[in-house]
Subunit: 337 residues, 2 copies
């Protein structure tokens, strides 16, 4: 991975050696970055695959438990973009950490994400039947197994991260990392975001400003908090200073929000086939979205502004090591599905 | 609490000072023990109440988030027997710990239990409408809020326990405690038990022995593992030795299994009114139960045997300090609802 990383950096330097910080915004080396991302994603997928075995120390599982493991694997290994674990690994490396010691935490963040996707798709929540181009978890395994799998992914995330102590990560760091993850899940994180999102269509606001505050609340909690946690957890595991952790947190909050703004725009402008999930659904269900509140063009502009802000928060870090984070933000703002 | 505890011990000494270890089986000081339990339960209920506030640092919550907090409180504060947190506190004190430092972990164990109850009662799981004499969580708050509340309780459990470091508990102990809790939730704990339980009626077994192994698997995972974790986590937080932790774990496994055997017997022999939940339901739904596999009388005998075994595992501990654990086991085997 290190070798591949150096190659990408060299390729990027060739394009605009004088100002690498803004390189990706000006002449984006998409294919190199995507190849770098794909390689990182491969390590992540391998680690995720290993983390949910279909037996316990070669002992076969009872059929119903096996089914839960299969349901966990189904969503966890269904080829997401791996933005969160990637962010976790890159943040760790940026502050001097190793990929191997940050990997369990990176996987844990993806498990939390997968768990939240399973729950979001349930009939009593968003009632979605398509995700990443495939039938959703509850369609394949049934509601009860889905809910159990979501729960098990959440606890496995905690177990995985705690086990990092066996890789030599000090207990205090591990503890702080798990604390960040737990906070990102509950009523100050994903749960709050999803609750607010589901109730959004029934809410009435005194004025437009309050509506926008509510929309921002949804997306900060539903998306940005976990993206933030991914970067923060990576920086903690890598041994970053409090200041480094804070800067990465601010960067990640912008990226997280931007991710959601782009998602909303794509939902309104793309077909289901292009997206791999039910398109235009937010529009039909009357959900609050950025395009609905500010119009498609303004939402696109907002995403670009968030990208610039994200990049500004990275000032002060090593200009070479920071390239993947700049490219990641750029990739998100330009993505088409 | 310490004072009250001493009073109970003195009362017990008066009854049979020569053999306190078997005192509770012979001349059970029910009212003293129940008063001791009620006092412990009061501290626990106060701590649980404080742990799920209805605002964040005096900032009001958006209505949908407030509703999730209310749903969390509804089940968490609905007057359970508090067997698990009590076990946690008593185990901690037995190995020399303080009630105050074990309290967050004790609350965490109860949060995990409450979370699992909310999920178990869902329409796609056991579809129960009555629990502890009140409508179940999903009946009051709806499925989606229920599921979110269950999730939030799980992550709050982790947060709470991790925050014990601020009370001076060493990070290594806290990490180990959270690891025990996480393991008790996933596919080696509650999730496995619930999955096996839900599928039980559809399973076919090659022989009676296999059926009994399956039933044992359900109850070890659905009940005993968390009861075990409660004792183990208490002993860890209290600074117990590995040997002490092991003995308390064996005691708690017997108590956990016994709890379930008694539950099955009560379900078959009591009315809904007496139980505060739908009685005879296991019989109607064709679920595997101990009375169904071995008959009511044998199941009662089995519970008594488990009680004796549980008490044996406590040999070697201070004979005064161990009295609450002996009484707790006795209380469980004799309970009527």
């Amino acid at each position: 991975m290190r070798h591949r990383y150096t190659l990408v950096l060299s390729a990027m330097r060739l394009i605009r050696p004088s100002n690498r910080r803004h390189l990706t915004s000006i002449a984006s080396p998409d294919s190199e970055f995507i190849s770098y991302m794909n390689n990182k994603a491969k390590s992540i997928n391998k680690a995720l695959d290993d983390s949910v075995p279909l037996c316990n120390n070669s002992v076969p599982l009872w059929e119903p438990v096996l089914e839960v493991r299969e349901a966990m694997r189904y969503t966890l290994l269904s080829g997401g973009k791996r933005v969160r674990p990637m962010l976790c690994l890159v943040a760790s490396e940026l502050v001097g950490g190793q990929e191997s010691t940050a990997m369990p935490a990176a996987c844990a963040v993806e498990m939390i994400h997968a768990s939240s996707l399973i729950l979001d798709d349930l009939p009593c929540m968003d009632d979605d039947s398509l995700r990443r181009g495939k039938p959703t978890n509850h369609i394949v395994f049934g509601e009860k197994t889905s809910i159990l799998a979501a729960n098990a992914l959440m606890s496995l995330a905690v177990e995985q991260t705690l086990a990092s102590t066996s890789l030599g990560v000090p207990a205090e760091r591990v503890l702080r990392a798990v604390q960040e993850m737990a906070r990102a899940v509950g009523t100050e994180g994903l749960v709050a975001g999803q609750a607010a999102d589901l109730a959004g269509e029934k809410m009435s606001f005194e004025n437009e400003d309050e509506g926008l505050r509510y929309l921002e609340f949804i997306h900060i909690h539903k998306t940005a908090v976990l993206v933030e946690a991914a970067a923060v957890v990576g920086a903690i595991m890598g041994g970053g200073s409090d200041e480094e952790i804070e800067r990465l947190k601010s960067y990640a909050r912008c990226v997280g929000l931007m991710f959601q703004v782009v998602d909303d725009v794509l939902d309104e402008t793309k077909s289901s086939e292009e997206l791999g999930k039910t398109a235009g659904k937010d529009l039909i269900t009357g959900k609050l979205t950025y395009p609905k509140v500010m119009g498609v063009e303004n939402a696109r502009e907002y995403a670009k502004r968030l990208n610039r802000e994200a990049q500004e928060h990275l000032q002060g870090f090593d200009s070479d090591k920071v390239v993947p984070l700049l490219s990641l933000a750029d990739y998100i703002v330009k993505r088409q599905n």
